[in-house]
């Protein structure tokens, strides 16, 4: 058995320079699909928050499902061990506060960070101003870090996944996510019709 084991940049198949070239190519794909999905437009994006257009939800969840099953199957086949992948650490309090803030920031600013790059790349000046805001916000956070530091490690649960938390196999949780997405798509279509009729 001599399979190619991923991630390629961590198993010696790709050097650090080539990894950066791939980073750019992966970014090109990311930006391309975001734009084609309509996410270079703040009006299309924010229609999500008024229930009128659930594209953000549908695109996000179909992307998550595809990547999730890819990751689970590659792990089961031994082609990409899950432990080698970067996993977001769970700090409940900052993730709850940051999530709420970013939901509000999304409505007020019209974009999320990734989509604002695509908005600017398609000529939207509001996206450029939003990006300047992002820069200012990040710098403010760094300047005022003492203010945020006390909450940054609150609710620390370590590197924990949903399968570990629920004590279920990854494939089962994957199927639950798939069911959640399917149910969500069905409900989203209902809500869209309801809002349209109003």
């Amino acid at each position: 058995m001599n399979e190619i084991v991923a991630p390629l940049a961590k198993t010696g198949y790709l050097g650090p320079e080539i990894n950066l070239v791939f980073a750019m190519l992966i970014g090109v794909g990311f930006g391309f699909f975001l734009e084609r999905g309509g996410f270079g437009s703040s009006r299309k994006l924010t229609a999500q928050w008024f229930g009128k257009d659930w594209s953000v939800f549908r695109v996000m969840f179909s992307a998550i499902v595809v990547a999730l099953f890819g990751i689970v199957f590659l792990d089961l086949l031994g082609l990409m061990p899950f432990e080698r992948l970067y996993l977001n650490h769970t700090y409940l309090v900052p993730q709850i506060l940051g999530g709420l803030m970013m939901g509000a920031g999304f409505v007020i600013g019209g974009y999320c960070p990734g989509t604002s790059f695509v908005g600017f790349a398609s000529g939207k000046l509001d996206a450029l101003v939003y990006i300047i805001g992002l820069l200012l916000g990040s710098v403010f956070f760094g300047e005022a870090y003492d203010l945020f530091a006390p909450i940054m490690e609150m609710g620390d649960m370590g590197n924990i996944t949903l399968p570990e938390f629920f004590g279920l196999p990854a494939l089962v949780v994957g199927l639950m996510v798939l069911a959640l997405a399917a149910g969500g798509f069905w409900a989203a279509a209902k809500v869209e019709n309801l809002v349209k009729d109003k």
Partner: protein
């Protein structure tokens, strides 16, 4: 560009765009062992700019000092390259779909100038929020969602809750 309404192609169906994005995300894990990011590169560039203006001050900041090696903030970084790619990919997609055009998008109840003010405010809130949560819609929701990180799923839930809640108070901006 004045006739872009006539020539612009329709957006792709959600499922098609989503599957494309999902495959790109999977490729990021397969190649680099990590997911996608939106806000990370902005923070690095912010640290770099601040370091240019006030190097001693920046080096003394607990949060930014980690970005500094030998007095400089290196832009030879995975997320920086990925983000340059995002601009390029977005540009190519918009151009080839006939959607590129210098505009300011805004709701019917506010002016373009007002929209810019709100965009700045939203960006600032998002910039701070992304640092608190250690990632944004890309790094937490998409990437953490696909790797089933518990905290990222909590984040995603809160992002949607925050969005729907804020929409009640900021209807005027978009409707």
């Amino acid at each position: 560009m004045s006739n872009k309404e006539i020539t612009a192609q329709p957006y792709w169906p959600n499922l098609l765009a989503g599957i494309g994005l999902g495959l790109v995300l999977l490729m990021a894990y397969y190649i680099a062992g990590r997911g996608l990011g939106g806000s990370g590169a902005v923070t690095r560039v912010g640290a770099g700019l601040l370091n240019l203006v006030a190097p001693e001050h920046t080096g003394g900041l607990e949060y930014f000092s980690r970005y500094i090696r030998e007095g400089k903030v290196s832009l030879n970084d995975w997320l920086v390259f990925q983000t340059i790619g995002v601009f390029f990919g977005g540009f190519v997609a918009a151009m080839t779909a006939g959607r590129f055009g210098k505009t300011i998008e805004h709701g019917p109840q506010i002016t373009a100038k007002q929209r810019l003010g709100w965009a700045l405010l939203g960006g600032i809130i998002m910039g701070i929020g992304a640092r608190i949560a250690r990632g944004c819609t890309s790094g937490q929701a998409l990437s953490g969602g696909a790797t089933m990180a518990l905290g990222s799923w909590v984040f995603m839930l809160m992002l949607f809750a925050g969005g729907f809640l804020a929409a009640i108070f900021f209807k005027r901006l978009w409707l």
